[in-house]
């Protein structure tokens, strides 16, 4: 394990999540048969449906028994078990640099991403990663090779450090997600890890686009404890990490209004993710990474069974 890997892969977290299965809620294509439902129809032992023959269909897949009975050409479609293609999209914008504890939001998000990548790779699934702010700063396509985890971690490292050179790195979801939709070769699970601060309209537009392309979506909304509780006291000057505004105030006087705005923000995120059929999980940085992962995976597992 490289130093970067050690940084983002917490052994305790990995040990706890290794028992879990990463399941896609919908049919995704995968290489590990039996574990992941593939969105692609092909040869398999499990019959899915009949459909009318169209020009270009493989004649080997025509069900001759149906032709003999009904004098019509139908092809048989089978459901194949495929491996998962996991795409981790990590927000590396300036707002992710905030920290109230040992980990900044970005550190926390990177840990989550690395852990998920390791899990996928350990199951033989493919895992890729991209770090972005207003554009994609670094990325690695999904692979199943053993050294892929190192590549993912390197992307998490270089993508953020590349962005740090800029004084302010605003978040621009839409162009990033659009480029991902265009570049991801096959449908898979796209996990967006971000604080969702910034271009929220672009985020949901991008999610809709990915959804249309058949990707399974999950949003891990990482927020710092301070951002959720707003515990500040005493005269404080707040300086925007991405915005140029400054507010000098008594934080307690604004707390009520801030929390109300936060509730509205979280409710909107949850609602719009649901509209895009996207799993949404709010994670606070004070929470243990493993606990957050267990919660996320359990939720997905339950949802998959229900479906």
């Amino acid at each position: 394990m490289t130093p970067a890997s050690r940084r983002y892969l917490h052994p305790e977290a990995i040990a706890r999540i290794a028992r879990l299965e990463l399941r896609a809620r919908a049919v995704v294509e995968g290489l590990l048969a039996g574990l992941h439902k593939s969105p692609y129809k092909g040869q398999s032992v499990e019959f899915l449906q009949h459909r009318e023959y169209v020009r270009g269909d493989d004649l080997r897949r025509v069900d001759w028994k149906v032709w003999g009975r009904q004098d019509r050409l139908y092809v048989k479609e089978f459901e194949e078990e495929t491996n998962l293609r996991l795409a981790l999209v990590v927000d590396g914008s300036a707002s992710m640099d905030y920290r109230s504890g040992p980990l900044s939001k970005y550190d926390y998000a990177a840990t989550l991403a690395a852990s998920l990548a390791w899990l996928a790779l350990s199951h033989g699934d493919a895992a890729g990663c991209a770090v972005f702010d207003d554009r994609v700063r670094a990325s690695v396509p999904a692979r199943t090779k053993r050294s892929q985890l190192t590549s993912v971690v390197e992307v998490l490292e270089t993508g953020h450090s590349a962005g740090s050179a800029a004084t302010a790195r605003p978040t621009a979801f839409q162009p990033v997600l659009r480029s991902l939709a265009e570049t991801l070769p096959r449908r898979g699970l796209v996990v967006v890890i971000s604080d969702l601060l910034g271009d929220s309209e672009g985020l949901f537009a991008g999610l809709q686009l990915l959804r249309k392309r058949g990707h399974d979506l999950a949003v891990l909304h990482v927020m710092d404890d301070d951002e959720l509780d707003f515990p500040f006291e005493g005269p404080t000057r707040f300086e925007g990490l991405e915005l140029p505004e400054q507010i000098a105030c008594n934080p307690r006087a604004l707390r009520e209004g801030y929390l109300a705005a936060l509730d509205d923000f979280l409710a909107a995120a949850r609602k719009r993710c649901a509209a895009a059929r996207c799993d949404y999980s709010l994670i606070r940085t004070g929470e243990a990474v493993d606990a957050a992962l267990v919660k996320f995976l359990s939720r997905r597992s339950t949802a998959g069974v229900e479906r």
Binding site: D229, N250, A253, Y258
Partner: protein, 756 residues
């Protein structure tokens, strides 16, 4: 505008008011910097709450400034001017303060905790505060202060020399403009004022005040009557009310300030009387003295000890077991002085609410012998069988039983030749006739306080007595005579011939049957005219009667003196009383003392009255030194002629105690006389007129009544009502409001963790 007791604290403290603003500004500079991600949310909150937060912060800042301002003001002791302060506007205001200084104002039974001990102290404090208020007031404020006793004095003789627009000054503090610079001087002058020992009431002071205020053209005039409002001083309440009404009608604002203690009436005993109760004030002779103590309180007083002194030396005192509430208890004690001259007797009570009436003094002018003039009506002088013998033997039995009397037997003509004033008493024994000059001299003697006794026996002619001495009731003789009659005794009816009536002279014989009187036989007497009915105003009193109901001895006041007619003989001619009967001696000596009391009782002026000394022109010098109490200060007075051959030197008694007058005769011999000056015992009655009665009396008179305590809730209340307490409550309210606003501004909101 409120005034401040400690203005420097205000000026030093006012900059502190800026502290919350400065702290606020410093906090603005000391902002903690936070690099914040969720700026949009914070901006949304700020947009929403900006105005509200700003208003709350301004309100909070204002409340904090107000709290500190309140604290600074409270430290500076603000006070709002009293009603009098509001009354003090621009223009000229004349304040005339009449301060009761009668000795009841020395009542030290209670205090209101302001450091004063007597009602007079409270009154003086009121005056001081009025002056303080005036000093702080706008406009020209003038004040004059006069004590009752000083205002009651006659204006000084040089008053006529003062300017026409300046009324004669009869005040302790003459009219002056009150300024802050003059305030210490006024305070010093007030501190020198002490209560007098007089019973001076408000009437004379009000009269003087009316004179002063009537000639004053001030824009407003205020009369302060500072008194304890004792019932005794308001005996003539209607007259006092009339004086006040006239002042009120004249536009003078009346302020009545009650300085008396508001608690119940205190215990006060008064030595009401100390006087000779008979006897002969002669050297070596026992003289009974009567002492009377009055209890002026509402509960009985037990175990009253009276300290007695003779010429300053203590002698065995008296102890009175109980004096009932409001009651008077009299006791007698004997004094005897071996030397002639003026002797001082003092009676002193233990300390109580009022000290001035606990002491009373009496001067006893003791002579070697008291001359008694006996006019013998027997022209031949009947020797040891005559009236004069029996009487003089009774008055002066001999050296074995000194009575202090020295009878001088003279014929009737001596009445016109002798100086009758030198005699203790005059006895006329069966005088057949008196000439007009003799009767005139005798009447003058009696009218001046002398005592005259008539014995009418065989030589007295009823018609002559009636025409020359009785004269239809205007003369000396008490009753008209009908002539001599025999006392008819019915043998079957036993009993004494003499019947003792209710009279101090024969008190010793009254009561149970007296065997000495039983042996007295009256054979003949001068009967009173039949049908004579004395006028009630004549004041006739019987001393003795006969068994048939006819009067035997009758007393009649005449001028300041007394006349007694005994309608029988002194010698055992018509009766056997004087023959070896001890009761004869006793009654004659008692009669002598009784008749001479008026002459023997030395004049005892009260404080505030004149102590007068009469001198003989051509014999005495004209300079008299008066040594006045309490410290024996010497006042030299020059005697002036009051009538032919008589000079008078006088001073006004200002304190109780013995006043010693010393002067020299032209022959060089030094003379001395002591006069006892006492307080008016009635002033010791501490009963109050009461608010209700006072209001009834002053019905229709615009005035304002207030107690000294209510006028001064604290040490500076007259200068204004203290605002400290209301201010403290206000500060408390502001601080509470500050906490509420702080809470509303979320400064006290706990930073709780949200459950996500």
């Amino acid at each position: 505008m409120p005034s401040f007791d400690f203005p420097p604290l205000l000026w030093w403290g006012l900059p502190l008011v800026a502290a919350p603003i400065i702290i606020h500004l410093i906090n603005l500079l000391r902002h903690r910097r936070v690099q914040w991600a969720a700026m949009e949310l914070l901006l949304a909150s700020q947009r929403k709450y900006r105005t509200r937060v700003l208003l709350k912060q301004i309100l909070l800042l204002a409340l904090r400034v107000a709290a500190i301002l309140g604290l600074v003001l409270a430290l500076a002791q603000p006070r709002w001017k009293h009603a009098i302060g509001q009354m003090l506007g621009a223009g000229r205001t004349m304040h005339l303060v009449l301060l009761d200084d009668s000795y009841s104002m020395t009542d030290r039974s209670s205090g209101s905790g302001l450091g004063e001990t007597t009602a007079f102290d409270r009154g003086r404090l009121v005056v001081e505060r009025v002056a303080t208020e005036l000093a702080a007031a706008s406009g020209r404020q003038e004040i004059a202060v006069g004590r009752f006793s000083v205002c009651a004095e006659a204006p000084p003789e040089d008053a006529a020399d003062t300017k026409p627009d300046t009324p004669p000054q009869r005040f302790d503090l003459p009219r002056q403009i009150v300024t802050p610079e003059l305030l210490p001087v006024i305070r010093d002058e007030l501190a020198t004022l002490v209560p007098s020992q007089t019973d001076a009431g408000p009437d004379a002071a009000l009269t003087a005040a009316a004179e002063l205020l009537a000639g004053d053209a001030a824009d407003s005039r205020v009369l302060w009557l500072v008194s304890d409002f004792r019932a005794g001083q308001w005996k003539a309440a209607e007259g006092t009310a009339d004086l006040l009404r006239r002042l009120a009608d004249d536009g003078v604002e009346l302020r009545l300030v009650d300085c008396a203690a508001e608690e119940g009436q205190a215990t006060n005993l008064t030595v009401e009387r100390l006087q000779v109760a008979g006897g002969v004030p002669a050297t070596g002779v026992v003289v009974p003295v009567e002492l009377a103590i009055r209890n002026h309180s509402e509960q009985p007083v037990r175990g009253v000890a009276v300290d007695l002194r003779e010429d300053g030396s203590p002698r065995p005192g008296l102890r009175i077991e109980e004096i009932p509430a409001g009651g008077l208890v009299a006791r007698r004690f004997d004094v005897r002085f071996p030397k002639s001259g003026c002797h001082l007797v003092e009676a002193r009570l233990e300390a109580d609410a009022v000290a001035a009436d606990n002491l009373r003094t009496m001067v006893l002018d003791v002579a070697d012998r008291m001359d008694v003039l006996v006019i013998d009506g027997d022209p031949r002088g009947s020797g040891r069988s005559g009236d004069a013998f029996y009487l003089s033997t009774a008055l002066a039995p001999g050296s074995g039983a000194p009575t202090g009397l020295r009878p001088r037997i003279e014929p009737p003509r001596a009445l016109s030749t002798l100086e009758l004033e030198t005699f203790d008493c005059i006895w006329l024994l069966d005088v057949a006739r008196l000439d007009a000059p003799e009767i005139a001299a005798l009447e003058a003697y009696a009218r001046a306080g002398g005592g005259v006794v008539f014995f009418v026996g065989p030589r007295s002619d009823a018609e002559t007595v009636n025409t020359t001495l009785y004269r239809g009731g205007v003369g000396l003789f008490p009753v008209p005579l009908a002539g001599p009659v025999d006392l008819i005794v019915d043998g079957a009816e036993p009993g004494p011939d003499l019947v003792v009536e209710e009279h101090p002279v024969v008190t010793v014989l009254s009561g149970q049957r007296n065997p000495l009187l039983d042996s007295v036989r009256v054979d003949r007497y001068q009967a009173v005219e039949r049908g004579f009915e004395p006028a009630p105003a004549a004041g006739l009193r019987r001393l003795l009667s006969l068994r048939n109901g006819a009067p035997l001895a009758i007393e009649q006041p005449f001028g300041e003196g007394l006349v007694v007619a005994i309608l029988s003989s002194a010698a055992p001619t018509w009766n056997n009383w004087s023959r070896g009967n001890p009761s004869w001696v006793v009654v004659m000596l008692e009669l002598e003392s009784h008749l001479a009391t008026a002459r023997r009782t030395a004049k005892s002026p009260e404080v505030g009255q004149r102590v007068s000394l009469m001198l003989e022109q051509g014999v005495d010098g004209i300079d008299v030194d008066f040594l006045v109490p309490p410290d024996g200060r010497v006042i030299r007075q020059t005697a002036t002629a009051v009538r032919a051959g008589v000079l008078e030197a006088a001073i006004e008694a200002s304190a109780a105690g013995p006043v010693v007058a010393r002067w020299k005769r032209l022959d060089g011999t030094e003379q001395e006389r002591i006069v006892a000056v006492n307080v008016d015992p009635a002033e010791g009655r501490l009963e109050r007129i009461g608010r209700e009665r006072l209001e009834r009396t002053l019905q229709g008179v615009a005035h304002r009544y207030e107690s000294a305590a209510s006028l001064q809730p604290d040490s500076g209340a007259l200068a204004g009502v203290s605002l400290v307490n209301p201010l403290l409550y206000l500060i408390l309210a502001v601080l509470l409001a500050e906490q509420v606003v702080s809470f509303l501004a979320s400064y006290h909101m706990p930073a709780r963790r949200r459950a996500i």
